[in-house]
C-alpha cells in the first residue's frame, strides 16, 4: 500500500480542507459517542480534535504517520494506532466508530472494504453505531468535481471495476502539481451488505450531516449502521 497522504499533502491538509464545515459533523457524532469514539482515517484530527473538545474520549487509526504528526502538534490526548483501517486494532470498545470524507474509498478492493466493516464492528459495543460519510458513485466516466484558480479536480471512474482515480491539479508556491489518487467507488446498497456481513443493520441514511433527506439527487450520504 502507498501512503498517499505523506509529506506535502499532510503538511497542507488542514489548509486545503479549511473550507469544509466541521461543526455539523461534530453535532451529528457527539450524541452517539457517549461510550467513546474511534475514528478510522483520523488524519490530522480535523474532526477528532473538536469532538474531543466536547469531552468525548476519542481514539484513532490512520495509515499515514505524517498526517498523525500533524494531529500530534495539536494534542497528545488522542491515542492513534498507525496502520490500515481494515485490519488495525486498538484496545477497548466504543459506542461509535466513524469514517468521514470518502476515506472508505481509499480502501481499493471490495474485500478490503468488507474488512473495514468487520473491523469497525469488532470495536463496537452491542448497540453501538458505525457512521460513514461517502459520495455516491459518479454517473459519468469523467467528472469535474472542482475548478478554481488554485485547484482542478477530475474524477475518472471505471464502471466495470468501480476503480476511481481522483486527479488533482493544485497550484502550490506558484507551480502546478498533479496527484492522481486511487479509490474504490461504492454504492450505499453495497455498503448495506458489507454491514450485514459484519452483523450490523442500517439505522439511518441522510443526504448530509445536517440530516437533509437522502434523495436520487444526493451526491453523498451519511449512513448509520447499528451493531446487533
Amino acid at each position: 500500500m502507498t501512503d498517499w497522504f505523506a509529506g506535502d499533502i499532510a503538511a497542507r491538509y488542514d489548509s486545503s480542507t479549511a473550507g469544509m464545515p466541521v461543526e455539523p459533523v461534530v453535532d451529528f457524532l457527539a450524541p452517539l459517542a457517549h461510550g467513546g469514539a474511534l475514528e478510522l482515517g483520523i488524519g490530522t484530527g480535523r474532526i477528532a480534535v473538536p469532538l474531543a473538545e466536547r469531552g468525548i474520549r476519542v481514539a484513532g487509526i490512520d495509515f499515514s504517520p505524517d498526517m498523525v504528526a500533524e494531529l500530534r502538534r495539536k494534542t497528545a490526548e488522542i491515542p492513534v494506532a498507525i496502520g490500515d483501517m481494515s485490519a488495525t486494532r486498538v484496545e477497548g470498545t466504543f459506542s461509535l466508530v466513524y469514517v468521514v470524507f470518502n476515506s472508505i474509498n481509499n480502501v481499493t478492493s471490495q474485500d478490503g472494504q468488507v474488512d473495514v466493516f468487520a473491523n469497525a464492528a469488532a470495536h463496537l459495543e452491542p448497540g453501538g453505531c458505525f457512521v460513514v460519510e461517502v459520495g455516491v458513485p459518479n454517473r459519468q466516466r469523467l467528472e469535474v468535481f472542482d475548478l478554481s484558480d488554485t485547484h482542478v479536480g477530475v474524477d475518472e471512474l471505471d464502471f466495470d471495476t468501480q476503480r476511481l482515480v481522483s486527479h488533482h491539479f493544485s497550484l502550490v508556491d506558484g507551480e502546478w502539481r498533479r496527484i492522481s489518487m486511487p479509490f474504490r467507488s461504492v454504492s450505499p446498497a453495497e455498503l448495506d451488505l458489507m454491514a450485514r456481513l459484519a452483523g450490523m443493520k442500517l439505522r439511518e441514511r441522510w443526504g448530509d450531516w445536517d440530516r437533509s433527506p437522502f434523495t436520487a439527487e444526493s451526491t453523498k450520504h451519511v449512513s448509520v449502521w447499528e451493531k446487533e
Binding site: R139, F159, T161, S187, P188, A189, E190, L193, L197, S218
Partner: protein, 229 residues
Amino acid sequence: MSDTFAGDVAARYDAAVAHIPVEPVVDFLLPLADGGALELAIGTGRIAVPLAARGVSITGIDLTPDMVAQLRQKTDNIPVALGDMTTTTVDGTFSLVYLVFNTIVNLTTQEAQVACFRNAAAHLAPGGCFVIEADLLPGGARTVFALSDGYVGIDAYDADTQRLVTYHFRQLPDDSWERTAGPCRATSPAELDLMARLAGLELRERWGDWDQSPFRAKSTKHVSVWQKT
C-alpha cells in the same frame, strides 16, 4: 407479489422474445449442468426446453401459472414448482442453478434478492454454480432503451432506492398500443457479489455476454458465475 406475466403477456411472451438468441445461452450453461439444472423463473421454457433437448435434466421454479402453461404446451418432462423464487424449494440438488434475462431485478427489495441467492445456494451441490444474466445500473433517471416502429422501452430509475420501473409500449396486431410496466430493483455486479458471499458462494467468472466476451467498462450487461464453496 403482483404477477406481471399473467394472461396476454404469457400468451405473447415467446413471440415477443423470439429475436433474442437462445443458442449461446444453452452453449454456455450446458457444460455446467452435468449434475442437473434448476432454472429460477423458468417461464415458458425459452432456455429450459432447448437445454433439456441436449440431454440435461431440468427442473424449474416460476411464479406465473400462465407462463408455465405455455411451457406445458411444449413438454411434460420438465417439472416446475409454482412460487416465489426466494422461498420455493424443489427436491434434490443440482450442479447448476440459473436465472437469465435480468429477472433478478423483478425482486424489488435487497432483502428478497439476498434470499434468492440463499435459495439458489440451498439447491446447489458443493462446487455447483449459480449463473445470472443481468443488466447494470441505469446511467440516468430516464433512459430510452429501445425505440422502433412497434415498440418503445423506457426505464425510470431512482438512484437513491435503486427502484427501477420499466415501461414497455407495444403495438398490437390490431394497431392499438398496450403499455405494461413492472416495478424492479436494479442492482450492480458488486452488490450481487456480496449477496453471493452472504449465501456462501464465490465469484468464479464474469463475462460481458453469453459468448464469453470480456466484461468491460462499456458493457451494458453481465453474465456472472458464482460457485458454492
